[in-house]
């Protein structure tokens, strides 16, 4: 690389920190959706105790990733059959 060549992209002057600006890509309604889904699960699974999980939407654009806390990673927790892992009844 030649001496003096810039290292950072032009767009770096527009980088923003979500926690400072309150910005996320996905409308907050989706966060509400997540909460509703989680709430529904909590009500229907006795094994699911503790504070309501926090839903964070931390990604952006068309490649949005919605970060939710991991669940059902414990093999002792009943698995959902033919159901979304975050919704509906536990069999």
């Amino acid at each position: 690389m030649a001496d003096g060549q810039p290292l950072l992209p032009f767009l770096s002057q527009f980088f923003e920190t979500p926690t400072e600006t309150g910005l996320t890509d996905e409308p907050c309604t989706t966060a509400t959706l997540g909460t509703e889904t989680l709430t529904e699960t909590r009500e229907q699974s006795d094994s699911d105790v503790g504070p309501a999980p926090r839903v964070e939407i931390a990604a952006f654009g068309t490649e949005t990733t919605v970060r939710k806390p991991p669940r059902h990673s414990d093999p002792d927790i009943p698995r959902l059959v033919g159901r979304p892992l975050w919704g509906a009844r536990v069999l």
Partner: protein
């Protein structure tokens, strides 16, 4: 054989959760396959031989449910993640196993006949590059803002001069700079350029940068396509300062929505664009300017839609279900 819809995504995808609930509401049989758990599911596929005996039926077993692949009539494919393995497996072997799992599942399911994909991974991949999208849309006849993608500071300066300061810059791919954890991630939106100096523009050499003619917006428009159905919603982004340049800012809080009616020729062009990629579903971002002209910004093969349904702007899940259950 009772038909089944396969919902392929990841366990953290709330839009897939939302869609799954809609499928349940419609009493449609479906199976959710979260691809990070792929290695824990079962797959069986056979072919060939000389004995004349038929190969055993191809099946998959997901969360304990065994499904013949022939029963799968449609796949709703959103945002898969790589399969995961125990950290006790050495990293190079994990990497190899990941590729084996992806090749096995993708090579079997992706080529299985008579499945309606929304959308097929290969179609998603083909439609995921903004420069190509803009060129294709322009050839189809859609209005595309004058765009320059460059690493040449001189070309960037000339472009900005040509448009006399009415220029926006945006990422070519996505706008998230992922940190080690969500608290250290950063975002970059579409931003309006005020009169950049040569010193600032020198950094264009460090990374390709997309410059685009700024359109004086009336509204942003999100178009959802599912098969032959098209639904347009206007986002009244110009009613609040925060969202005038990029409607996604501030979480779209307070955004007003209304149904939009596109000119027939624009609808036909958007449907042609979507079909040209082999996509059954697409979320397309347009801008309607102050002279009622519609400008194409991008097509998102895995674009979000559930929020529009939640704010009451459009019942998109009905379109998706109707499209996926067509025979």
């Amino acid at each position: 054989m009772a038909p089944v819809i396969l919902v392929v995504s990841n366990a953290e995808d709330v839009t897939a959760d939302f869609f799954a609930m809609r499928l349940e509401d419609a009493h449609i049989d479906y199976v959710r396959l979260d691809t990070e758990n792929l290695a824990q599911q079962s797959l069986s596929f056979g072919v060939g031989g000389t004995s004349g005996a038929p190969a055993p039926a191809a099946t998959m077993t997901v969360l304990g449910r065994r499904i013949p692949l022939d029963a799968i009539t449609a796949v709703y494919y959103r945002r898969p993640l790589p399969p995961t393995f125990s950290p006790a497996v050495p990293a190079p072997i994990r990497e190899w196993m990941e590729n084996e799992v992806r090749s096995a599942w993708g090579g079997t399911l992706g080529a299985w006949p008579n499945i309606r994909w929304m959308n097929h991974p290969l179609a998603v991949s083909g439609a995921s590059y903004k420069p190509e999208q803009l060129g294709r849309a322009y050839k189809i006849g859609l209005s595309v803002p004058h765009t320059l993608l460059t690493t040449d500071p001189g070309e960037a300066a000339a472009f900005c001069d040509q448009h006399a300061g009415a220029v926006v810059v945006k990422p070519v791919g996505h706008g998230e700079i992922r940190g080690d954890d969500p608290t250290t991630s950063q975002l970059v939106f579409t931003n309006r350029l005020a009169d950049p100096t040569d010193e600032q523009l020198a950094s264009v050499a460090a990374c390709p940068t997309l410059f685009q003619q700024a359109i004086e917006k009336d509204v942003d428009v999100r178009v959802t396509i599912a098969g032959d159905a098209l639904l347009a919603v206007a986002l009244h982004s110009q009613e609040r300062t925060v969202s005038t340049i990029d409607c996604r800012r501030n979480n779209m809080s307070g955004m007003r929505y209304s149904a939009a009616s596109l000119p027939t020729v624009v609808e036909e062009q958007l449907l042609a664009l979507t079909r040209s990629y082999g996509l059954l579903y697409a979320a397309i971002d347009l801008v309607r300017d102050q002279h009622d002209r519609y400008w194409f910004l991008e097509i998102n093969p895995s674009g979000q839609w559930a929020w529009l349904e939640q704010v009451g702007a459009a019942r998109i899940s009905d379109l998706l279900i109707s499209c996926l259950t067509q025979t």
